[in-house]
Subunit: 237 residues, 2 copies
């Protein structure tokens, strides 16, 4: 187990999957924590606890995993509004804003989250952060065309920019054929302002700041599982 939180994250994922009800359309996040949730959802479907659940996958990888586990899939064309999305995050702020994109699926993850009535994020408590940007750089997905000009722009905003590699030599390419620039701005005192600056720039397709999207965060820690809700106190449950 890579991070020492595996069993706890699995319990937290199970808690998130307990939110799924029969007939729901569920967004399926990408990443290790979301993989726990997908497995748990497949179990609930297999034993008949829920039925008629359909998933919208956030990546080609998740699409293949869901098919392998027997979780039925659907599309946005059939269901433009999702009932619930379950996903992970790389950092979670006290306001339940998120930094995401370490797995490279940030664009589809954000499209799915913003189309969902409810967004439940599952993390271990090492992901709780006083301020986004403290632990991780901000992943910025850019079009290959004009990529160098985006590097200059991001540097002008104060970032140290590292193009993400798939391995030691080749650039990482997203499901959309774009590149990812990992941008270290340090702790972000004004994440909304940065999000606006990134959103206004042509060629920056998306970024890893998920502000105001999570409705709840389920946190696994040695002391148990906490279910934090937007606008509410962190009530242990």
């Amino acid at each position: 187990m890579r991070d020492g939180f595996g069993p706890l994250k699995d319990q937290a994922a199970a808690r998130a999957v307990a939110l799924v009800e029969s007939g729901m359309v569920v967004g399926l996040g990408h990443g290790t924590t979301a993989a726990h949730a997908l497995r748990r959802l497949a179990e609930r479907l297999r034993v008949g606890e829920v039925r008629d659940v359909m998933g919208v996958p956030c990546s080609r990888f998740v699409e293949a995993e869901a098919a392998r586990l027997g979780v039925p899939l659907t599309t946005f064309e059939a269901h433009p509004v999702l009932d619930l999305t379950i996903d992970g995050a790389d950092e979670v702020s006290p306001e339940l804003d998120l930094l995401k994109g370490r797995g490279g699926a940030l664009l589809r993850e954000k499209i799915v989250a913003q189309a969902s009535r409810r967004v439940a994020i599952v993390v271990d408590e090492s992901k709780l952060s006083p301020c986004l940007g403290t632990r991780r750089p901000v992943p910025v997905e850019v079009l290959p065309f004009g990529c160098c000009s985006q590097v200059r722009y991001l540097e002008s905003l104060g970032a140290r920019v590292v193009p993400r590699k798939a391995d030691g030599r080749t650039l990482f390419v997203t499901d959309q054929g774009n590149l990812i620039l990992d941008c270290d701005f340090g702790p972000l005192s004004e994440p909304r302002r940065l999000a606006d600056q990134l959103g206004a720039r042509a060629g920056i397709v998306e970024h890893g700041l998920f502000l105001g999207l999570a409705t709840e965060v389920i946190v696994a820690g040695p002391g148990g599982i906490r279910h934090l809700r937007r606008g509410g106190p962190g009530a242990p449950s």
Copy 2:
């Protein structure tokens, strides 16, 4: 001649191309007016009026045209800052803000424009508009994934949304593999606000509002050619 302004637009394009100096890197817009400029630039290169000029094309179509006309091309990797871009527009506001994208190349056109020191827009005077959105819908380039959820979002902002077709039956697909939604919001009293709302939405890759990007607009009309400069009066020349 389709619009009755052909010869005038060609004169205006020639005026824009007169801004090109030897050694410059020039952004080459997509569309009928930019095609006049490209032909004029090729002529100046051929007769030796300017030399060592290199172009950055805004579309695959322009790339092929430039090659056919013998205009040398370069890339953003080699030249992340461009000296000048020459392009057309579908509407021009009194503030020299633009509505673009009728040709479907808005994303690369905006990337090129924002990387340019100087952006000269060539139009006939039928494109001058008291308020962007008066004559044309706003083209919005969206990822195919989650496209239906973007239609709902754009409608919630007040748009009448028409997916662009390549012909009567098939959807138009951009050079990036995305779709275009033509969004009629009516005349835009607050284009900046709309641009922010579109920029913040994951899955909306880009839109046709070019605000604050044109440094000058060269207008062809029956009364002659006017060269408007940002922040300056419309001085006839």
